[in-house]
């Protein structure tokens, strides 16, 4: 029997060259001696080859025949859909893409680059670790082709017209019009349970000028009923410069001679606010408003008494 590489290459060539779709029997006849004898063994080998080719992205089309072959499935490959269309990348564009791919270190990007005529670049000075999730390519294609998607999220099936994907800090989000809720919603891609189902393409229009960054604030401390709520926080000298750099000079209410600063910090979301505050350990203290200060004192008192 032939090496699998030879058989599969011949199979691709045959399905691309044929004018009319071929059934499994016809394929085995054309590739005489390359598939095993016997119905079950032949079917098994053919199914494995087909699955392998689909996994690497070869678009094998199938149709169920009528007439004398009624009920049989026949296959072919449309050469136009198989072949990469030339992107006409200039040398400097290809080089820039090579550097980008080297920085991201995603195996799929490296292989895609080979197809585009690029090559592996030597180690770049900046490396970006991009979270990679199996749902992302599917969601990207659905977004680009305007296809409805549905997936399970926190135990409920959601249906979405996906407008955009956003990588913010460490998470990927999919943002779109939620058909069940009738409004724009944001979902964390890593929290999607199971696989994503994709519906028909051209199912919707994305609103003109849609910007995913505007759908929810970057700062979780701002998410709450009173987005303008602010707390005054005293930060000791060792952490003062870093906090000022993080919040900006506009947030500084006063600077004290010992190097500490009083800053204004959003506190619409108390959980997010406490999380930020405790990141400064004992180097920060809420001065006002009283209810926020009391909340922090209650939280710390409960923990101090837990031993």
């Amino acid at each position: 029997m032939a090496d699998a590489l030879e058989r599969i290459t011949n199979l691709v060539a045959l399905l691309m060259a044929t004018r009319s779709p071929l059934t499994q029997e016809q394929i085995a006849n054309e590739l005489a001696g390359q598939y095993p004898e016997g119905d079950a063994a032949q079917r098994g080998a053919f199914e494995r080859d087909k699955a392998l080719l689909r996994e690497i992205g070869v678009p094998i089309e199938s149709e169920v025949l009528g007439g004398s072959d009624a009920g049989k499935t026949a296959y072919r490959i449309d050469r136009g859909r198989y072949e990469l269309s030339d992107l006409h990348l200039q040398a400097d564009e290809r080089a820039a893409l090579q550097l980008a791919v080297a920085a991201a270190r995603l195996a799929d990007a490296q292989f895609g680059l080979l197809k585009l005529g690029g090559e592996r670049s030597s180690s770049p000075v900046v490396i970006a670790n991009i979270p990679d999730l199996p749902a992302l390519p599917v969601l990207r294609e659905a977004t680009a082709s305007r296809a409805e998607v549905s997936f399970d999220y926190r135990g409920t099936t959601r249906s979405l017209h996906p407008y955009s994907l956003l990588l913010r800090e460490r998470y990927w989000y999919v943002i779109g019009h939620d058909l069940g809720h009738g409004e724009v919603r944001t979902y964390r891609v890593d929290r999607i349970e199971g696989s994503v189902t994709v519906g028909a393409t051209h199912a919707f229009e994305r609103p003109a000028g849609f910007d995913p960054r505007a759908t929810f604030p970057l700062d979780p401390k701002l998410i709450g009923d009173e987005p303008t709520a602010r707390a005054e926080v005293l930060v000791d000298a060792p952490r003062a410069e870093m906090v000022v750099r993080e919040l900006g000079d506009d947030a500084v209410l006063s600077r004290r001679p010992d190097g500490s600063v009083v800053v204004e910090v959003p506190c619409a979301n108390l959980d997010a606010f406490r999380s930020w505050l405790f990141g400064l350990g004992a180097h920060a203290e809420v001065l006002s408003p009283a209810d926020v200060r009391d909340d922090v004192v209650r939280w710390v008192t409960a923990l101090a008494g837990s031993r």
Partner: protein, 314 residues
């Protein structure tokens, strides 16, 4: 690349062959060594697969399908009627290329002359307008640190260390900058300790060039999620309520299992100071299961902070 053992899987051989053939056809004549390096194959594997491909053929064009022969280390390839173009990009390849290009657009120095933007526009046209946005806001000093790494320039910095809770002046020679979980880091030769150290760029308060240029030294950045694991750091087992699951999403862990109503999470402890802050955030409903010497750490941190509030009540 690590050494491979055993036969290569068929899927990998087919995938590579379908991108290799059109590349060879376009060139006509290329050395085995060059092709092997480009496609990351041993010369032996490459020759074997090409010789097999040369045997491929179907009636009525038995000899026209793949026209390859290899002589004295050179591959000669004719242009027959099939396999003249690579297989189209798959969904994962398209996603990864677009994501990589968009991340690179956000990196200081990643885009200088517009070439990347043009490449990205061509990719987006071919793969569809997906509205994908990448946000990796770089801290103020990222640009200086990156160019220093590029040039081998030594910097004088003021750095706050979470480990010691101290600010110190030091000289560092940045080697490689990396972005992980939304934070920017630099791996550098630290001339204070004489060791290679990793610094968070947003914790560098001040940085200026010393004028010293150090000899280049190649350093590879750690893979995603693995770099704490390499550092041989202690771990702590925590019990957290259901609402405390974010700990596992945010920090490197070695195990996460359901535990009653909540979770039992083993976290890598970068420093005791970090664990104190984590326990403050989690509050009274979280406990340290092990090691025992940290079981009172949260209460201790809370008591210290509480005394500060009590002292200033007046």
């Amino acid at each position: 690349m690590s050494a491979r053992r055993g036969p290569r899987p068929t899927i990998d051989r087919v995938r590579r062959l379908l991108v290799m053939l059109p590349w060879l056809m376009e060139r006509g004549e290329v050395t085995v060594a060059e092709a092997a390096a480009r496609f990351e194959l041993s010369e032996q594997d490459l020759v074997r697969d090409l010789e097999l491909a040369a045997m491929c053929g179907l009636p009525p064009f038995v000899d026209e399908m793949v026209d390859v022969f290899i002589d004295e280390g050179v591959i000669f390839t004719g242009v027959p009627r099939l396999f003249t173009k690579p297989l189209r990009l798959t969904a994962p390849e398209g996603f990864a290329l677009l994501a990589a290009a968009r991340v690179a657009m956000e990196i200081p120095g990643g885009e200088s002359d517009g070439a990347l933007a043009r490449a990205l526009a061509k990719l987006a046209t071919a793969l569809g307008d997906d509205g994908l946005v990448v946000e990796t806001p770089a801290p103020a000093l990222a640009e200086l640190v990156t160019s220093a790494a590029d040039e081998g320039a030594r910097l004088h910095i003021t750095y706050w260390s979470a480990h010691t809770d101290l600010r110190r002046e030091r000289e560092i020679s940045p080697r490689v900058v990396f972005v992980d979980r939304g934070s920017w880091y630099v791996i550098a030769d630290d001339h204070l300790s004489g060791e290679e150290r990793t610094f968070r760029i947003d914790r560098i308060e001040r940085a200026e060039r010393t004028g010293i240029i150090d000899t280049a030294r190649e350093v590879s950045a750690p893979a995603i999620d693995s770099w704490f694991a390499d550092a041989d750091l202690p771990t702590a087992v925590l019990h957290v309520p259901a609402s405390g699951k974010w700990v596992a999403e945010r920090y490197p862990t070695t195990s996460v299992v359901p535990d009653g109503e909540g979770w039992r999470i083993e976290v890598t402890v970068a420093s005791e100071g970090w664990l104190r802050e984590l326990l403050l955030r989690l509050g009274a409903q979280a406990t340290v299961v092990s090691p025992p010497e940290w079981s009172g750490l949260g209460a201790e941190a809370a008591a210290e902070l509480l005394s500060r509030y009590e002292a200033s009540r007046a």
